[in-house]
């Protein structure tokens, strides 16, 4: 009853599938070594970092030395970020949006403390269009008055309204740690008086200073080297090599101290210490973050890291350890956010936990777990989320060697309990930067926590 062709079709499909699986497997095996790290090159005087996994999607980004650290006046980075993909000499903002919609691309602009990122995600074959677009945005944006009033200001106000107390606390910790430069807030709060500085003329002047070949890097994920060489040269021709405009580039110096800000909403405490800079080899910090952890990696369980145990004991509080790496310094932070007195208790217990690590009370299997977590953090950041792209760009503009994943992975394995103890000890012996935001009646002072400020 069953026709012969139907039978053979099934077997054909099965064969084809097996074959496909084989080729896919081979592709993955080949890509694993290629995809690992961004390779820095120079194309027509432009710093470029690229890696190619031969996938169908390309991410192309311009990372400029225009983060809040380098802004000469407050608020300009935010202004420049919102002016990305607005009217240029050649076409209107609307045309840019509609054209990239038709090609199925995504355009975004965002900033960190050091870099301003203009990013385009698109199908591999559309590289010429988006290379031209990014080159045009960088060198030919008009910075018109009416766009500033009609579009930029409104968006900035909306984003300001979203800033939570955790963001304010992190900014305050940076401010006491670094004062100027890196101490500038990541996003000016509605209370920050930027009105007299933030206008289209200052933004245009800042763009002229920041968008030069010396100050930008192009990062490509999933574009062929040949394509980049062919298209970046003509489309970034108009970007000047140097500019007379100045960025504020003071070397970062760690100060430390305490800052307390009364605000409505959640309570947030940041305890910060000098951390690891971009490109610096310090596997202990990464493993210490893995050990402290905080964010649960499994569903329905708070997790078993040091901070997870503390937050499980203090419901309502959330804690997280992180290292903010910059080109010449870093900030190691533990942030506790939540409601009421739970934050206060969790903070005290966090400091005690750090002290007990410094005293050498670290179990061997915890170190193994922490190393595994640190490895996962490193790989997931460089592979799946977009942070690898930003890091590669920040390394290039900061003059630091881009992250070499294989090397760092090896160094993580060499971390022992003794090294962790030593690292924690140096952290606690140095000056801390503590920021408390929220209900100050409930939040402890740094000295009461047992920290030096």
């Amino acid at each position: 009853m069953i026709s012969r062709s139907a039978l053979s079709r099934g077997s054909q499909q099965a064969l084809r599938r097996a074959g496909a699986a084989k080729t896919v497997q081979r592709a993955f095996a080949a890509a694993a070594s290629e995809k690992a790290s961004y390779e820095p090159t120079t194309i027509a005087g432009l710093k470029v970092a690229s890696r190619d996994d031969h996938g169908p999607v390309t991410r192309l980004a311009v990372v400029a030395k225009a983060g809040t650290r380098y802004e000469p006046l407050p608020g300009l980075t935010v202004g420049l970020e919102e002016f990305a993909f607005k009217n240029t000499q050649k076409r209107s903002a609307l045309r840019i949006t509609r054209e990239s919609e038709l090609l199925g691309g995504q355009l975004s602009s965002y900033h960190t403390r050091e870099g301003l990122v203009l990013q385009a995600n698109f199908l591999r074959e559309d590289l010429p269009y988006f290379a031209e677009l990014l080159g045009e945005v960088v060198s030919e944006t008009k910075y018109t008055t009416h766009e500033f009033h009609e579009e930029v200001e409104g968006v900035i106000r909306q984003k300001q309204a979203k800033i939570g107390n955790d963001g304010v606390a992190l900014d305050a910790a940076h401010a006491v740690a670094f004062h100027t430069g890196l101490g500038n807030p990541l996003y000016p709060t509605p209370e920050t008086p930027v009105g007299s500085y933030l206008n289209e003329h200052n933004v245009a002047a800042f763009a002229e200073a920041a968008y030069t070949k010396a100050n930008i890097a192009v990062v490509a994920d999933g574009a062929s080297q040949g394509g980049l060489e062919k298209w970046l040269e003509p489309f970034f021709k108009k970007v000047p090599a140097q500019s007379e405009g100045k960025l504020s580039t003071d070397a970062a110096k760690y100060h430390g101290g305490e800052s307390r800000i009364a605000r409505n909403g959640l309570n947030s405490v940041v305890i910060a210490f000098p951390g690891t800079a971009l490109g610096a080899s310090s596997p202990e910090t990464a493993v210490l973050i893995g050990l402290l952890g905080g964010e649960s990696t499994v569903k329905w369980s708070p997790g078993f890291s040091v901070l997870s145990k503390i937050t499980a004991a203090n419901p309502g509080a959330q804690a997280k350890a992180a290292n903010y790496a910059y080109s010449d310094c870093g900030l190691f932070t533990v942030q506790v956010t939540g409601t009421g007195s739970a934050v206060s208790k969790a903070t005290q217990e966090t400091v005690k936990a750090l002290q007990s690590i410094a005293e050498g009370k670290v179990a061997k299997e915890d170190v193994v777990k922490a190393i595994a977590k640190a490895k996962f953090n490193l790989l997931s950041a460089s592979e799946t989320s977009g942070t690898g792209l930003v890091h590669a760009g920040a390394s290039l503009i900061g003059g630091v060697k881009p992250l070499q994943v294989a090397e760092v992975l090896k160094s993580l394995e060499s971390v022992t309990a003794d090294k962790l103890t030593a690292a924690a000890k140096t952290l606690l012996q140095g000056k801390a930067s503590v920021a408390s935001v929220g209900d100050l009646h409930a939040l402890p002072f740094a000295e009461d926590l047992g920290l030096k400020v």
């Binding site: 209107s92 609307l94 045309r95 509609r98 038709l102 008055t145 009416h146 009033h149």
Partner: protein
């Protein structure tokens, strides 16, 4: 018709000079300069695009425009003209609004064109 006249005018200087003369006679007869108004003050405000263009003017220009219009209204009520030395001169009557209005109209036209386009597939 108008574009043909303009083309002719740019080609022949004598033609342009004649037109210029006729235009100045027309403006003089229309009389708005004697009331202290510029040509762009006569553009009707009751239009979304004009309102957008007005918002884009620098504050000083906006203020001056309102001042001229109020002065003209007052003169109209009083059935008076400005003293001759305060009449708007040829060189003062620059188009301050129409370039912005043209830009706003171009934006609206582009938006309409882009919002109704039909993509053609490559294959």
């Amino acid at each position: 018709m108008a574009s043909q006249v303009a083309k002719q005018a740019t080609r022949q200087p004598w033609y342009q000079a004649g037109l210029q003369k006729m235009a100045s006679i027309y403006v003089n007869l229309a009389g708005y300069r004697k009331m202290g108004l510029k040509t762009d003050d006569l553009i009707s405000e009751e239009d979304e695009q004009v309102l957008t263009a007005l918002k884009r003017l620098p504050p000083q220009v906006q203020y001056d425009r309102v001042y001229r219009i109020r002065r003209a209204t007052q003169l109209s009520l009083q059935h008076k003209l400005l003293p001759k030395n305060e009449w708007i001169k040829d060189e003062e009557d620059e188009p301050y609004l129409s370039p912005i209005l043209a830009q706003v109209k171009a934006e609206a036209k582009e938006r309409a064109a882009l919002d109704t386009l039909a993509p053609i597939k490559r294959h």
